[in-house]
């Protein structure tokens, strides 16, 4: 069954707006789910602190340069072509997937704890990696068809955008 997904502004900083995805029947956004899920997990407490501080500094001071974000290393994780816009933030085994639109706009998705070298062998992260790629593909099409308008750090028409998964 297909579900509609909408975009929401997650956090706004001086240099970057971080947006996120939300499934139509969910109360939380995908990124809220990620932080809520791991907030009280002692095994990743320091990693999560680092991740939040890193996002904050990127947002406030450095901008979302594409080089700060990493590619999923596994070419086997999805059939080609994998989206070049999908990146991951890696803090030890913790992964947060995102779609990098520009140095001022990043759409954060969800993530998890990676338990193997390849995303396809890590059940905690694979669904989120697949989701981010599916969203990126649709966003690419919207950009190509000029139905995704950005101005500075804002996605002007984000309230009107409906994605499907």
């Amino acid at each position: 069954m297909k579900t509609y997904i909408t975009l929401h502004l997650f956090k706004s900083f001086q240099k970057v707006n971080f947006y996120t995805f939300q499934f139509e029947d969910d109360e939380q956004t995908e990124t809220d789910k990620f932080f809520s899920k791991f907030e009280k997990n002692e095994s990743v407490k320091e990693d999560l602190n680092n991740l939040v501080a890193w996002l904050t500094l990127i947002g406030q001071k450095y901008g979302a340069k594409i080089d700060f974000f990493r590619h999923e290393s596994s070419a086997q994780a999805l059939p080609p072509p994998m989206s070049k816009m999908v990146r991951e933030v890696i803090v030890n085994n913790l992964r947060l997937y995102c779609v990098c639109i520009s140095e001022e706009i990043v759409i954060l998705a969800n993530g998890g704890i990676k338990t193997s070298q390849q995303a396809q062998d890590s059940p905690d992260v694979l669904p989120h990696f697949r989701f981010a790629n599916a969203m990126s593909k649709q966003i690419n099409e919207l950009i190509r068809d000029r139905n995704f308008t950005i101005r500075g750090k804002n996605i002007d028409n984000f309230h009107e955008i409906e994605l499907i998964y």
Binding site: D32, E39, V52
Partner: protein
């Protein structure tokens, strides 16, 4: 306050400062590469490292050793970090 903000507020100043320095170094390397029209692949080749390793260094989430920074400076022909001069104590 949401989970992100609660995590933000519990994070120590030392964690933030450490990341800030790491990001400043990564940011400088990225800017020098861009100014020279070079890519991460070029830097990897110059240093005999894998692209994956360079990619990890440039996230700002990796603690680079000073000697690695010196090797990067040599490869780029540019200063990456600068030590502020001697401070006179009254």
């Amino acid at each position: 306050m949401d989970a992100f903000e609660r995590i933000q507020s519990r994070t120590s100043e030392s964690t933030r400062r450490n990341l800030d320095k790491n990001l400043a170094i990564a940011n400088r390397i990225i800017e020098v590469l861009r100014a020279q029209g070079k890519t991460q692949r070029d830097l990897a080749r110059a240093l005999g490292k894998s692209e994956s390793e360079i990619s990890k260094w440039l996230t700002g989430l990796h603690n680079l050793e000073l000697r690695t920074i010196y090797k990067i400076e040599t490869a780029l022909g540019e200063e990456v970090i600068e030590v502020i001069g001697t401070v006179k104590v009254a």
